[in-house]
Every structure is written in C-alpha cells, then in structure tokens.
C-alpha cells in the first residue's frame, strides 16, 4: 500500500488559485499519525481533502499492513480512493458531455467502498476480539472540490463533502465559516470544545455510512480549508481558531512563512494529530491576501477581544454573536 501523502499539482488551477495547495500536518507519535490527505490542482478543478483515522474504533492492528492500526490504514485507503476518483473525474471532465463534468460524491463513496472492501477481504482473519466498539478501517473525511463558475467569473462552484468530525471551512472578509455540519451528537462548535461527543457517522468497511455534501457558489476572494479535529479542537472557542489563522497570516511575509507559523501554532495547541489543507482564490498576491485579512483581524479583535478568552461567560455570549456569520452557510 502506498501512502499517498503527497501534493499532486500544479497545472494552472483554473488560472486563479493564488498558490499551490498548502498542507500543514503533524503527528503526535512520529510515524504513527492516523491522519492523511490528498490535494490536487488541475486545469479542470481543484480538490483538497483530509482524513482522520478513528483511533478508538480502529485500534485493531493488521499484520497484513505491517502491524498498522485500522485507523492508520483507513485514512490512507480513503485518501487513495479520493485520489483515484478525482483523477478519473478530471479525465471525464475533459469531454464535452455536461453530465461527465458533474461532481458525483456518490461515485467517490463507491470508490472508497471498493478500496476499503478490498482491504477488508485481505484481512479476513479476526484479532480474537469481539467488540461493539470496533469498526474496520474507520476514518473521517472533509473535502472540497472547486470548479470555475462559467456563468459568473467572480464566483466558484464548490462541492463541500464530509463524514464525521473533520471540517470544511471558508474564510472571507466577513470571517470564518464552517461549511460542514459535524456528524456528532452535538452540533454546536463551541460546545463541542468542552464535550467529548460521540461520532454518529464515519467512513468504514464494516458499518454503513454516508458522505454529506453541499454544493454552493462561492464569491471570490476567499480561502478554503479542510481540517481534521486536531487543528480546531484544542482552542477555547471557534473565534480563537480564526484568530490563529489570521494572526499567523499577519505575522508572515510570504506563503511559506504562513505555513510554518500556522503549523507551529497548531502544533503548540493540539493534543492530537492534525492536518490542514488550504487553497485561496482571487487575491492575486500574498500581499493582497494579508491586506484583506488585516482588516478582518482588526474587527475580530474589536468584537472578540483576545483579553477575554479565559472569561467563559463572556466567551459564551460572544460565541452566540459570532456563530451567526460562522454558521451562515450551514
């Protein structure tokens, strides 16, 4: 099994991406991280996707995969399936048939099912445990397919897709928006930072699951993110995750420096493996990206002062205001 943690790029993405996909990732146990990702930028469209193997239900180890856990293998298998699916889509999208250009999340699910099913057949032997907790190769997924909007040059067509608690985000001048809805028993992003809510839906070879999808036209300029919960799950409020994105951007002089600073910031906070994939559109330059979000950071500091982050009552009140914009697209 190849581990496909690589960036495959960079044809002239729609001619409009500001930089190749940015990937920020880290693992808590070197070489044993259970996150994976796949990003690609092609002339027909772009894809960013993250996968987070579920360590609790996927704790079984497989001799067939070098003693790796189901969580480790599952996240990589699903990323591999996404890569195949996207590659096939780019080929079909080159044709003239309009239906071939359509993004089908059902086909992505079929592809993931085929790969996980094949892995399942390879590993038919049991670990000796019987468990109502265990799943075969469980993994979350959050991904975004980005296409040009031929009818309106100032917009893009984006298909947001997810299973589990990994998230799709969009950042524009109005702030950070969570585009996915967590497959958790609690949907409130602030409350979920202080509750260990069980996951209600996750990709696996052994249990039925769904891939949620939402297709929207998004106005440029904006930045798109796909993130595993290690990125956003260890801040005191969703406002702090946006502040982390913006303060590291403000302190950077180029895209690589932003990647480094953001990676350091997430690594300093995270108690888990983390993976964040980023694509930005319509800014034209890093300077313009910084300029637009400097304004947004100023407003964020005014509306949600960083001096108040330890005041739970005020944070709760401010979250109620912040979430109106944050959840606008849900």
């Amino acid at each position: 099994m190849d581990v496909n943690n690589n960036i495959k790029s960079t044809a002239p993405l729609l001619g409009e991406a500001d930089f190749p996909p940015l990937v920020i990732c880290g693992e808590k146990r070197q070489g044993k991280g259970e996150d994976s990702y796949f990003c690609s930028l092609e002339a027909q469209g772009g894809f960013i996707g993250v996968f987070d193997g579920s360590g609790g239900s996927g704790a079984r180890t497989y001799p067939e995969f070098g003693g790796r856990t189901g969580a480790y293998v599952g996240s990589r298998a699903a990323a591999e399936a996404a890569m195949e699916w996207f590659r096939e889509w780019t080929v079909s999208a080159d044709g003239d048939a309009p239906e071939a250009k359509a993004v089908s999340i059902e086909k992505l699910k079929n592809k993931i099912d085929a790969v996980l099913g094949a892995y399942h057949k390879m590993t038919a032997s049991s670990s000796g445990l019987r468990s109502s907790l265990a799943k075969e190769f469980p993994t979350t997924f959050a991904g975004e397919v980005i296409l040009p909007d031929e009818a309106a040059a100032e917009k893009m067509r984006v298909c947001f897709a997810w299973s589990g608690d990994s998230r799709c985000y969009m950042l524009d001048s109005a702030g950070l928006h969570q585009m996915s809805v967590d497959d958790l028993s609690i949907k409130d992003a602030y409350l979920n930072l202080s509750e260990d809510a069980p996951m209600l839906n996750v990709i696996s070879a052994s249990h039925s699951y769904r891939i949620n999808e939402r297709k929207l036209k998004i106005k440029k300029p904006c930045v798109l993110f796909a993130a595993t919960d290690g990125c956003f799950g260890y801040v005191k409020s969703p406002m702090e995750f946006e502040r982390m994105l913006l303060t590291t951007l403000a302190a950077s002089t180029c895209i690589n420096e932003w990647r480094e600073k953001l990676s350091e910031a997430i690594d300093g906070a995270a108690g888990d493996d983390f993976t964040l994939c980023v694509l930005s559109f319509g800014f034209g330059s890093f300077e313009r990206l910084k300029e637009i979000f400097a304004e947004r950071l100023k407003r964020l500091e005014e509306d949600y002062p960083s001096s108040e982050v330890t005041d739970q009552k005020k944070t709760r009140e401010r979250w109620e205001n912040y979430r109106k914009e944050y959840e606008k697209y849900q």
Partner: protein
C-alpha cells in the same frame, strides 16, 4: 492568557473480579493483570501525549449470593492513583478464590454495582472503564433475590440493567455514554455474549479470565479505551 485548551483526562477504572473457587488456577495472574492494567493505560496515554488529570480505581469482587451469602460481593471505594497505590495493591492482593456453588456466578449484580459507581464527571474528557475477569457464565440477574443479603434497588431484569448501561439513543442515568467502556475477559457464555451483541462500547476477549491474550490484542484493547470513538 491562554487561548488553548489543555485536554486532561479523568480516568476511572472499576475492576470486577470473579473470586469463586474455579478461579483458583488463574487468580494470581488476574491480580497481576489488574495491577498492571492501569499502568498500561497510563503509559499508552502518555505516549500519545494525552495528559491525565486524575486516575482512580475501585474493585468489585463477586461470587454467588445463593452459595456464598455475606461473602458474595465486596466493593471498595475509589483509590486515587498513584497516591493510594499501596492501598489498592493491598486490596487486590487480599482477594482469595473460593466458593461459588454452581458454575454461573452473580456477575450481573457486580456489573450493576460497577455501572452505578461514583464516576468522576468533572472536566472535558472522561473515561469510565469497567473491566471484568471471569471464567464463568452469569446467572440471570435476580437469581438469588430471595437471599437475605441480596441488595435492594438492584436492576430487576437484564433489560433494566441494559438501560442502566444506556446507548446512543437513551443516555444512562449512571454512566456517560461517550466516556464508558466495558472490557470483558470472559468466556463465550451467557450473558457475556448477549452483552457484547447488544450493549455499546464493549470489547470482549473470549477466554477464561483473559488466558491466552496476545500482546498485540492487549494493545488493541488499551488503545480502544483511551481514544475517542
């Protein structure tokens, strides 16, 4: 000012140990396993940089109400580890295997005691873990309810005990759904099979009190305990 949340776990363990006569050949191994179990959970969590705030452990030792009367059930308070490690070890070491009468034992009553433990619900991340070591099947719950020392307020049926455990749709009144794990080192006999088939968050290693457990399987169990699901 700190904008980040340090996730600290409060881990509670309840060890249910069958101390009937048939356990004599394995009881010392079970005691060693119980003493090592919490250390292994702690080590695995620390290796994955999951910080432990508190760790506590209590013992529910059980036999058979009908055959063993006042020796049928012994429960301890929670010992806080590592501060009360010596007390905990002394309590474990004091267990002796005897009695039991017929082959099924009153393990469901022991599970009921365990489920209704005074779990730590403080903080964000909790783990409420019950571990059972036995070589026998279980009586129906209430099998010895006519005995004078049988506890009052016990679940009246397996169905009621199942409600005490709860599930995703109906939260248990006693143990948090996302925190709980039930680990069974027990044979494939009634009611262990029913439990793994119908209760959530259960891991069953089918054997007599964990005999023959391979190291990689043991690690799988430990990893499933502390990781989120």
């Amino acid at each position: 000012m700190n904008a980040y949340t340090m996730m600290k776990y409060n881990v509670d363990l309840v060890f249910c140990i069958d101390a009937t006569g048939s356990m004599k050949p394995v009881i010392e191994t079970v005691k060693d396993n119980a003493l090592n179990f919490y250390k292994d959970v702690r080590a695995a969590m620390e290796e994955k940089q999951k910080s432990i705030n508190t760790m506590r452990v209590r013992i529910v030792m059980y036999r058979d109400y009908y055959a063993d009367h006042e020796d049928a059930m012994m429960t301890t308070r929670f010992f806080t580890l590592p501060d009360e490690e010596r007390d905990f070890e002394a309590a474990i070491r004091s267990i002796t295997a005897f009695g039991g009468g017929d082959e099924p034992e009153d393990a469901l009553e022991a599970l009921a005691y365990a489920i209704r433990s005074d779990w730590n619900t403080e903080g964000i991340k909790n783990r409420s873990i019950i571990v059972v070591w036995t070589d026998a099947s279980t009586h129906q719950i209430g099998y010895a309810s006519g005995e004078p020392n049988y506890p009052r307020g016990m679940a009246q049926s397996f169905s009621e005990l199942t409600d005490w455990w709860g599930d995703e749709e109906m939260e248990s009144p006693f143990i948090r759904n996302n925190a709980k794990r039930l680990i069974l080192f027990a044979p494939e006999k009634p009611y262990w099979t029913e439990i793994v088939n119908s209760w959530n968050n259960v891991i069953h290693y089918p054997s007599a009190a964990g005999e023959g457990l391979q190291e990689y399987t043991y690690h799988e169990i430990i990893d499933a305990i502390y990781n989120s699901i």
